[in-house]
């Protein structure tokens, strides 16, 4: 059975039909990526899974449990964490306070323990633990946002556009981190506009086009696919 399975999801913004029957699944220990152009509905899909948006119809099943209608703040305790688009770190809180917020649903001891794990993975955050997050660079904020999402020790980590607005060298770094996280056993659902990078780390991929899945398959095969190359990889 898959860890996350989304079936026939329909999401509206007012009268705009943004997601038109999207279905996909994520199995344990996979990296699955949703790629697609700006406005295709990638972030909307993730936000719906995370409980920030309510679908009109469709089911989101996580570990065999339907989580549609579960309020966003309770989704996390099911083992589903999201690192949102644009990072959205708490700029006026310190690095460590941000991480503590990530572990909000856990006990103090668990937070302290996970804090060490996160600091080991992101030494830069440890160096700056007392600094206010708003003063970090874009790359550091992305690391903080990812570290914060890991604080809850999620079974599934959803990353929304982690490479957005970052210099190429930082993009490489972020994707290195994604690979390491995966090797350490975290299941990842990755939404990316940078299709090249996303497909090179993912196991499987779904291509989203104007609210519908237009293609799906093995990431390596999609990377070689003529249509994908044309549409998303610049020929």
């Amino acid at each position: 059975m898959s860890l996350l399975s989304v079936e026939d999801l329909h999401v509206y913004y007012g009268s705009i039909h943004a997601i038109k029957g999207v279905s996909f699944e994520v199995n344990e220990n996979e990296i699955v990526t949703l790629i697609g152009a700006n406005g295709a509905g990638k972030s909307t899909t993730l936000n719906t899974v995370a409980g920030l948006l309510k679908p009109r119809t469709g089911t989101v099943t996580f570990q065999g449990q339907n989580i549609v209608g579960v309020p966003a703040h309770k989704i996390l305790s099911h083992g589903l964490a999201m690192c949102p688009e644009g990072r959205r770190v708490f700029t006026q809180l310190t690095v460590e306070e941000n991480l503590e917020m990530g572990g909000y649903t856990r006990t103090n001891d668990e937070v302290q323990e996970t804090l060490q794990v996160v600091y080991e993975r992101f030494p830069r955050l440890k160096e700056r633990y007392k600094q206010v997050a708003g003063t970090l660079s874009g790359g550091e904020q992305q690391m903080l946002a990812m570290g914060r999402a890991l604080m809850s020790r999620p079974k599934l980590l959803m990353l929304d556009e982690p490479s957005m607005g970052l210099a190429p060298i930082l993009v490489d770094q972020i994707f290195e981190i994604i690979k390491t996280l995966h090797e350490a056993g975290t299941t990842i659902l990755l939404v990316e506009q940078n299709a090249q990078m996303a497909l090179s780390v993912a196991d499987r991929a779904y291509v989203l086009e104007t609210g519908k899945i237009s293609m799906t398959g093995n990431a390596r095969e999609l990377l070689a696919d003529e249509r994908v190359r044309k549409a998303y990889l610049g020929g």
Binding site: L52, F90, M101, G102
Partner: protein, 293 residues
């Protein structure tokens, strides 16, 4: 000596403004709304304390305690009934609702306690302090007011800086969506904020009535507006700002009364506010953090 006496009086009045302003600023920080009914919660606090002491003949601490309990509950109820349904509405709708709640509280008080002023018995029994051979007398109420505001300020700083709920409050005030993704219940965080703000309003009400012992259904409105001004003055959303704004406003008001004109004191207070906002639109301690992207 006169100057010192005026300064102390100003600080005392300012301390009351500061305690009320804390409620305004915390609620604004979290719910991004101006709760104009906040001033009237002060009045309710005053009446509850008055009734406990004068009708039930209970001692002052019981009066203060009841006032805090009733106002805390009242704050939570007002938020649940009046503001929560408007979470997605425009800020203008929320503002008008808040003004409506303010009138509702005033008129409910008029119905229950009638319009004739009640004479409030001070809850403070500590003796006045005499300094410089009796040339400078600081009343017990003044001492209690300034001491309470300092204690409240320290407690709130520790609460928002060190405790889990306090940090969550700051997280919610910055980004509700991201806070929810952390597992923080935004609705209950807003409730806690209203509870704290209203509990503080009760304390301010009791202190205010102890210093100026006339209690009417409109007692809370002017201090409420002044405290709102203080919150804006210090930088709305900022806790130290509310404290500083309140104290400064009190001192300016008393100095204007003492040295310029009693009638013009309020005009002078608001003129100073306008000048500060012209020079620094975010208020004295308003946040303008530079964010790298």
């Amino acid at each position: 000596m006169n100057l010192l006496a005026n300064l102390i009086n100003g600080l005392s009045l300012g301390a009351v403004y500061a305690i009320i302003a804390l409620g305004y600023t915390m609620v604004y920080g979290i719910a991004k709304m101006l709760n104009f009914a906040h001033g009237d919660v002060i009045m309710v606090g005053g009446y509850v304390c008055f009734c406990t002491m004068s009708y039930l003949h209970m001692p002052a601490p019981a009066g203060v305690l009841f006032a805090v309990i009733v106002c805390t509950v009242l704050g939570i109820v007002i938020e649940k009934l009046a503001y929560k349904p408007l979470r997605q509405a425009t800020s203008l709708a929320v503002l008008i609702t808040a003004i409506g709640v303010s009138y509702f509280l005033q008129n409910a008080a008029l119905l229950i306690w009638k319009s004739d002023p009640k004479v409030f018995t001070s809850v403070v029994n500590i003796p006045a302090i005499r300094l410089f051979d009796g040339q400078l007398v600081i009343s017990g109420v003044t001492v209690a007011t300034i001491a309470s505001s300092v204690i409240i300020m320290i407690a709130l700083t520790i609460f928002t800086g060190k405790t889990k709920v306090g940090k969550a409050m700051r997280a919610v005030s910055e980004d509700k969506g991201a806070a929810q993704l952390m597992g923080i219940n935004v609705n209950s965080t807003i409730s806690v904020t209203f509870a704290i703000g209203s509990g503080l309003a009760a304390i301010a009400g009791v202190l205010l009535c102890s210093a100026y012992p006339t209690l009417m259904p409109t007692t809370g409105s002017m201090p409420g507006i002044k405290a709102f001004t203080a919150a804006v003055f210090g930088g709305i959303g900022s806790i130290p700002g509310a404290m500083l704004g309140g104290l400064l406003l009190g001192v300016i008001e008393i100095f204007a009364k003492a040295y310029i004109s009693t009638q013009l004191s309020d005009a002078i207070v608001f003129a100073v506010l306008i000048i500060v906002l012209l020079i620094k639109p975010t208020g004295l301690l308003g946040k303008a953090i530079h964010e790298k992207v």
